[in-house]
C-alpha cells in the first residue's frame, strides 16, 4: 500500500547529483543509503520530501504520483540532520506539531504525544525547551515528531551520527525494535557503514550520480560490484594496490606496480581473470584478511606470507590496526591488541589470497564476482 517507487529521477545544479535513479522501497522495509558526504544523499531525501523539485522523473507513493505535490501535502515525515526542533516551543509542542497542523482535537493530540513520548522515554521532558535537553533527547524529540505524524514514508537524515557512541548504540537498537517503522517505507541516510550494515534490510551505496549498488548487508560487503563500494564499506578501509597480472613459474601473480610486492592469485580467481583480458587490475584485500604470522606457526593453505616492517600500531580496545611497510608497499592489517608492536619491528604477514578482490583498473568493476 505504502510502497515508494522512484522512476528515472534526475536532479542537478551545475552538475548532475542524481542521474536517472530508479528505486523501489517496499512497505515495512528499512532501506539505508550510505555514501560519502556531499554525494547527494540528503538531496535524495529532500526530493522525496518535496523540498526540492526534480528535473526529471517521478516519485510514486502507494500508486499515486506525488512528484508535483508541495511538501505539506505529502504523507511524508523527515528527521533533519540538525534535528530542526522549534526552539521557542516545548518538547511537547514540538512533537505535537504535525497533529496541530491537522487541527486534531486537543485530547487526541495529548494522548498521541504522550504515547510517543513514553515509547521514546522522553515523557519526563515534555515541558522543557529543546535547548534544555541533551543531544540524545533532542534526537528522540525529533524522532517523536516524525513518528506521531503516522506518515507513509519515513525519511531519516543521519539521525544518530552526531551523538556519542553509547547513545548511538542505544538508538540504533531502538530503530530495530520500533514497531511503527515496520508499517511504512523507510529511507535512512548515513555516511557510517556500520550503521548501514546494522540497520538496513537493504543497503544502497551512493556514488556520483546515484546508487552504485543495492543489496543486503552481506551482498554489498562481501560482493562489492565496484571498487568504490569496497572502498566505502569497512573500517579500516580496504587495501588497494595498482597491480599487473603476470604469470610466474606457471602461476598467475598480481605484481604491485609501485613496489616489489607480488601476491599469487588464488585458484578460484584465476579462471575468472583469464576469461577477461585485463592485465592491469586494482587488487583489493581487506585488513581483516591479513594477519600476523608468529614465528614457528604452521602456515595454512592459501595464506601467502611476506616479511614486513611495522610503521604504526594503533590499539583500539577489541582490535588493533597495524600499518606496515611490506616489500615497499603500505599495507594495513588487523591484529589483536594484546601484543604491542613497536615501530620498525620486523613481522611476517599472512595474506588470505582467496579473500582478495580484483577490480578493473579503468572502470572499477569487480572482475571476480
Amino acid at each position: 500500500m505504502a510502497r515508494l517507487e522512484i522512476e528515472g529521477l534526475c536532479k542537478g545544479w551545475d552538475f548532475p547529483v542524481i542521474d536517472r535513479m530508479d528505486l523501489t522501497v517496499e512497505e515495512g522495509e528499512f532501506f539505508v543509503v550510505v555514501g560519502p558526504s556531499g554525494i547527494g544523499k540528503t538531496t535524495l531525501l529532500r526530493l522525496i520530501a518535496g523540498l526540492e523539485s526534480p528535473n526529471e522523473g517521478r516519485i510514486i507513493l502507494g500508486g499515486n504520483d506525488i512528484s508535483r505535490l508541495p511538501p505539506y501535502k505529502r504523507p511524508v515525515a523527515m528527521t533533519f540532520e540538525s534535528y530542526a526542533l522549534y526552539p521557542h516551543l516545548s518538547v511537547f509542542e514540538n512533537i505535537a506539531s504535525p497533529l496541530r497542523a491537522r487541527r486534531l482535537p486537543k485530547a487526541e493530540i495529548e494522548q498521541r504525544v504522550k504515547d510517543v513520548a513514553r515509547l521514546l522515554k522522553i515523557d519526563q521532558l515534555l515541558t522543557r525547551r529543546p535547548a534544555e535537553v541533551s543531544g540524545g533527547q533532542k534526537q528522540r524529540t525529533a524522532l517523536g515528531r516524525t513518528l506521531v505524524a503516522e506518515p507513509e514514508v519515513f525519511l531519516l537524515d543521519e539521525p544518530i551520527s552526531h551523538l556519542d557512541a553509547k547513545i548511538r548504540h542505544e538508538l540504533r537498537a531502538q530503530f530495530h525494535t520500533l514497531e511503527a517503522l515496520r508499517r511504512v517505507a523507510n529511507v535512512y541516510v548515513t555516511h557510517d557503514y556500520a550503521e548501514a550494515l546494522s540497520l538496513g534490510d537493504r543497503i544502497g551505496v551512493m556514488g556520483r550520480g546515484g546508487l552504485v549498488q543495492i543489496g543486503s548487508a552481506h551482498e554489498v560487503f562481501e560482493k562489492p560490484q565496484t571498487l568504490f563500494v569496497a572502498e566505502h564499506l569497512g573500517q579500516p578501509s580496504i587495501n588497494v594496490l595498482d597491480c599487473e597480472l603476470t604469470a610466474r613459474d606457471g602461476v598467475l601473480h598480481a605484481r604491485h606496480r609501485e613496489s616489489l610486492l607480488t601476491v599469487p592469485v588464488a585458484q578460484a580467481h584465476v579462471q575468472r581473470l583469464n576469461g577477461g583480458n585485463a592485465d592491469r587490475v586494482s587488487y583489493g584485500i581487506r585488513p581483516q584478511h591479513i594477519a600476523v604470522v608468529a614465528d614457528g606457526e604452521v602456515v595454512r593453505d592459501g595464506l601467502h606470507v611476506i616479511d614486513s616492517t611495522v610503521t604504526l600500531f594503533e590499539p583500539l580496545g577489541t582490535y588493533a590496526i597495524l600499518i606496515t611497510e611490506t616489500a615497499g608497499a603500505t599495507i594495513t592489517a588487523l591484529s589483536s591488541p594484546e601484543h604491542r608492536y613497536t615501530q620498525g619491528e620486523s613481522i611476517r604477514l599472512g595474506i588470505d589470497t582467496a579473500e582478495a578482490f580484483f577490480f578493473d583498473a579503468v572502470n572499477g568493476k569487480n572482475l571476480v564476482l
Binding site: S82, A84, Y86
Partner: protein, 279 residues
C-alpha cells in the same frame, strides 16, 4: 601593591562615571525643576537649583489646553500607526529578500531600499509637500504623516527584518512544511516567533523616529492636526515666554519613549545583537 593599584583605578573609574552621570542627567533635572517653577522664578537672573515652591498647578495649565492634549494624542496615533505599518510591510519585504533573493531583486534591491535613508531629508521636503498636497488634497491630517514617515521607516524596517529572517534557520520552516503546515501557516508557527526580539527593536526605532520628527511635520500639518514637536515652540512664541510650561510639556513628551525603551530593553539588546553576532 597590586591590590592598592586596583583600588586606585576603581576609585578613579567611579569618580569619572559619577561625574559623567551628573553631567548627563543635569539637563533632565533642570528641566524637571523648571517645569514646576513659577514664570517669575524662571526669568530670575540668578537661576535657582531648587524651586521656591513646586507649582503642581502647572500641570493643570498645560493639560487644560485641549490643543496640548490633542497634540500628544495625535503624535501617539501617527507614531503607532506608522510603526505598525512599517513593521508589517518591512517584515513582508524583508522576508521576501531573505528567502527569495533572486525573485525579490537580490542585493541590489536590498541596497537600493536602504539607500533611501542616505539623502538629507530636507532635499525632498518641498517635492513631498507638493506630492501629498496634490494627491490627498490637504496635507493637514494624520494620514499624510503616517504615510510620509514610511519613507524613512520602511527602509530601516525592511533591511533589519531581512537580516533577522536570514538568521532564522530555513530548516525549521522546512520541518514545519513536512509537519503539514502550508507556507503561510509555517511562517506564523515557526519563523515569526524567532524574529520577534528583532521585530521589537525595529518597532522601537521606528516609533521613536516618528515620535520625534519635526521637519516634515512642521511643513505638512499644524492646524487640524498637531504633533508634539510643533506644539512645543508655541509656549515661547507668544508675547509671554512660558519656559516653565514648555519644559513641562516636553518632559511629558519624553516619557513615552523612555518607558517604552525600558519595557523593551530586553528585546532591544537581544534583537540588535542577533544581527551582529550571527550576521
Amino acid at each position: 601593591m597590586r591590590d592598592r593599584h586596583y583600588k586606585l583605578v576603581a576609585t578613579l573609574m567611579f569618580v569619572f562615571l559619577g561625574l559623567w552621570t551628573i553631567i548627563s542627567l543635569f539637563p533632565y533635572y533642570f528641566q524637571f525643576i523648571t517645569s514646576f517653577k513659577g514664570i517669575e522664578e524662571v526669568n530670575r537672573i540668578t537661576p535657582t537649583f531648587w524651586p521656591d515652591e513646586f507649582l503642581w498647578s502647572n500641570l493643570d495649565l498645560v493639560f487644560s489646553d485641549e490643543t496640548n492634549v490633542a497634540a500628544l494624542l495625535d503624535t501617539l496615533l501617527i507614531a503607532s500607526a506608522n510603526t505598525a505599518l512599517a513593521v508589517f510591510l518591512g517584515s513582508l519585504a524583508g522576508y521576501a529578500l531573505a528567502r527569495f533573493p533572486r525573485q525579490a531583486g537580490g542585493e541590489n534591491m536590498a541596497f537600493w531600499i536602504l539607500s533611501n535613508r542616505m539623502f538629507p531629508p530636507v532635499a525632498i521636503l518641498l517635492p513631498m509637500f507638493r506630492a501629498f498636497d496634490t494627491v490627498l488634497g490637504s496635507t493637514d491630517n494624520h494620514l499624510s504623516l503616517i504615510i510620509l514617515y514610511l519613507v524613512f521607516n520602511m527602509p530601516l524596517a525592511t533591511w533589519l527584518m531581512m537580516v533577522f529572517f536570514r538568521d532564522a534557520p530555513r530548516e525549521l520552516e522546512e520541518a514545519a512544511y513536512l509537519d503539514g503546515y502550508s507556507p503561510l501557516r509555517a511562517f506564523f508557527k515557526v519563523t515569526l516567533p524567532q524574529v520577534v526580539p528583532g521585530m521589537m527593536s525595529v518597532a522601537l526605532l521606528c516609533w521613536i523616529f516618528a515620535w520625534n520628527e519635526y521637519l516634515f511635520a512642521n511643513m505638512l500639518v499644524g492646524s487640524n492636526v498637531a504633533v508634539n514637536t510643533i506644539q512645543m515652540p508655541g509656549f515661547v512664541q507668544g508675547a509671554q515666554k512660558l519656559w516653565n510650561l514648555a519644559a513641562l510639556f516636553s518632559l511629558v513628551a519624553v516619557l513615552p519613549p523612555v518607558v517604552l525603551f525600558m519595557v523593551l530593553r530586553r528585546y532591544m539588546v537581544r534583537g540588535l545583537s542577533l544581527g551582529v553576532v550571527k550576521g
